[in-house]
Amino acid sequence: MARLSRRNLLRAGVGAGAVAALAGCGTGARPAGQPPLIPRAGPGETVHLTYWSWLKDLQRVCDVWNAAHPRVQVEAVWSQPGNDGGYQSMFSALAAGGGPDIAQIEMRQIPAFMLVNGLVDLSRYGFDRHADKYDPTLVSQVGFNGGVYGAPQDSGPCAFFHRSDLLDEIGAEPPGTWQEWTDLSAEYRAADRYLECFYVSDTSLFAAIAAQAGAAWFQIDGDRWAVDLTDDATMMVAEHFDRAIERDLVETSLGMFSPGWFAAAADGRIGAITCASWADALIQGTGGTEGLWRVAPMPTWSGTGYGSTQLGGSTAAVLANSAHPQEALDFSVWMTTDPAGIDAMIEHSGIGWTPAPDHIGTRRRQASEFFGGQRYNEEVFVPASRRQNPDWIWSPVVQQVFDNLADNFRRRLTGEITLMEACARTERDTVRMLRDKGLSARSL
């Protein structure tokens, strides 16, 4: 595989001077093939690795490793969160022929980085020896074309976070099914509250709920992408929320965990959020609600789909320009599967759900005071992490699809189209996006 596609393309343009190239309007081609393997550094050599991530205090995790491995020193560089500029920095560094050795990349972005030839296939450096330490549904989300393109770093099994005081007020239980969720939402509306928000600007939660219902938006069909946002499962979920919006059962003007959301959650205008395990730390930022929150299993689709789903989740991916991919993999595997690494990540950086089923983290076995003494990790999230849709994978245009879907969802709020129609439109657009890149794709 030729390294750095974009650079080569650029070279075709600028190499001979942009003006000269203008006249030529040349055509160029990038050949296919694998870059040579880079061996482990020699015994006398000290390797320095950089790791770009938006996790807080990640250096303290690296320090734990650095103390035990004097010859492989890892430096953490704190970047902007992925879509807020982090990925842009990584893409631009890759295009310039540089970049860190390791980068935090969300699972859903792995294919987009593969598209610019930005990632090292870890299976060539022996990832398979460690594969059984990871949750298999996560490994399936980073494996394509027989390779593995990132070490799962954390994930986000979902549950129903709610203010128990508000639930007690009306003497209700957490909803077991989405139908009960609708009924409960109506009761909340009667008390001039909302149970939950529907997030038009961030459609990843909608995708996660569709996955729970059994959808698989992206599928690989030989060397073609198959796109399906109009299957029964997705349509059922879309219709469910169409009705909820119709009946004004969901708040639609707030972003997930935006300042406005926190204000509403603090004064009880919003009573719950279906979200991933990592939301626990965020919810603790809701002023004056200590002890009031509880966690229950996510509502299910009666008779179909899965018990939970997954939202968010990152990998430690080795970038294409790393001079030491082998050492970078060693560190990544240690950080994501070794109990010392996991505990340090939880302690200092507050990562999401651990990708290693054998160790959920020492701290997470304890009862949480904020959540009223509930041991929700073992009680709710351990089972949730095992009740996942195994068929869900991502495609190289995920961010574009989410944004496109969000644009179409906004039209739901102005009453132009329904969510069901929005999904159908986005399916058509997704096929076009893939084809625009020259990839072959079809609708299902």
């Binding site: 650079r7 343009g13 704190w78 969160p81 295009a95 310039a96 926190f262 930022g285």
Partner: protein
């Protein structure tokens, strides 16, 4: 026209500062109301910077919380992540200072050349540069990034400095100013005395153009200081960030880490104080080039 109107006419004469009490109260009243609009956000940020995140959400935004945390907040801003904020500040000073200075010199030399020499291609060059004034800087930033990434210049001080030393508007201003204020006869006299062309520029030209250069420098300084798009595109390494990018980096974290509210409000306060102070002092220098230059054409 009545006598009263005549009196009004006299009152409105800016050269004779005489006015009746009624219109003074009215005009000054309007000016006060408008200044509230411009100053209240500044006041709010001063108040907000004294609060903890919890107080920020729970106390009245127009008044201070019972306990003041200004020193804690500012200390945290200055020391967070080994004092990265000070580094961002220094970077901003570097980008804006050096970029502004070099851009001014380049614009002065170019503007002087266009104003004081008749040569083939003069109008073509001038037209090209005028076109440059009208092209939004952000439209060139994107291709500039692609170009610089080929040259290996992205993610370096150069990637922000190089585009900052070009000010088409500055050249435009300098040309007009030089044409109006550097007399040809003086240049001719200097030539007869045997002075070289460069020396004439360096002694006569530059000296006469100082007011315009001050304007160009300030214009470019503020432009670079406030720039966000170019560094956002060019820089990946936080050590190279200017303040704008760094502070936004903090702000982007508040969603996940609410303690960043304190850092952001504190950082906004600390970063605006020097510039706002500078604006109060500098605003009287701002007119030089404009009155005698651009708008006189």
């Amino acid at each position: 026209m009545s006598a009263k109107d005549r009196a009004g006419a006299r009152a409105a004469d800016p050269r004779q500062r005489r006015a009746n009490a009624g219109s003074t109260i009215l005009v000054t009243g309007i000016l006060v109301v408008v200044s509230v609009y411009f100053l209240v956000p500044a006041y709010w940020i001063v108040v907000a910077a004294t609060k903890t995140t919890e107080d920020l959400f729970t106390t009245n935004g127009f008044w201070f919380a019972p306990t003041t945390h200004l020193t804690e907040n500012v200390t945290r801003v200055l020391t967070y992540d080994d004092g990265i904020f000070l580094r961002w500040f220094a970077n901003s000073v570097l980008y804006a200072g050096i970029g502004g200075l070099v851009a001014t010199l380049f614009a002065a030399a170019g503007g002087y050349a266009l104003a004081k020499y008749a040569f083939r291609g003069r109008e073509a060059v001038y037209g090209l540069v005028l076109g440059g004034v009208l092209v939004p800087a952000t439209a060139t930033a994107l291709p500039l990034f692609l170009l610089f990434s080929e040259l290996g210049l992205t993610n370096s001080y150069w990637s922000v400095l190089i585009p900052s030393v070009v000010s088409p508007f500055g050249l435009f201003l300098c040309r007009i100013y030089a044409a109006a204020t550097v007399p040809d006869t003086v240049i001719e006299a200097a030539r007869i005395d045997g002075a070289g062309e460069m020396r004439i520029f360096a002694t006569l030209g530059l000296r006469a153009m100082v007011p315009a250069m001050v304007t160009v420098f300030l214009f470019q300084l503020v432009g670079i200081w406030n720039n966000y798009f170019l560094p956002l595109i060019m820089l990946a390494d936080p050590d190279l960030y200017p303040l704008t990018l760094g502070l936004n980096n903090w702000y982007a974290q508040v969603e996940r880490l609410p303690e960043f509210y304190e850092l952001t409000t504190g950082g906004v306060l600390v970063s605006t104080v020097p510039l706002v102070a500078a604006m109060f002092v500098l605003q009287r220098f701002w007119r030089g080039g404009f009155t005698e230059g651009a708008v006189k054409e």
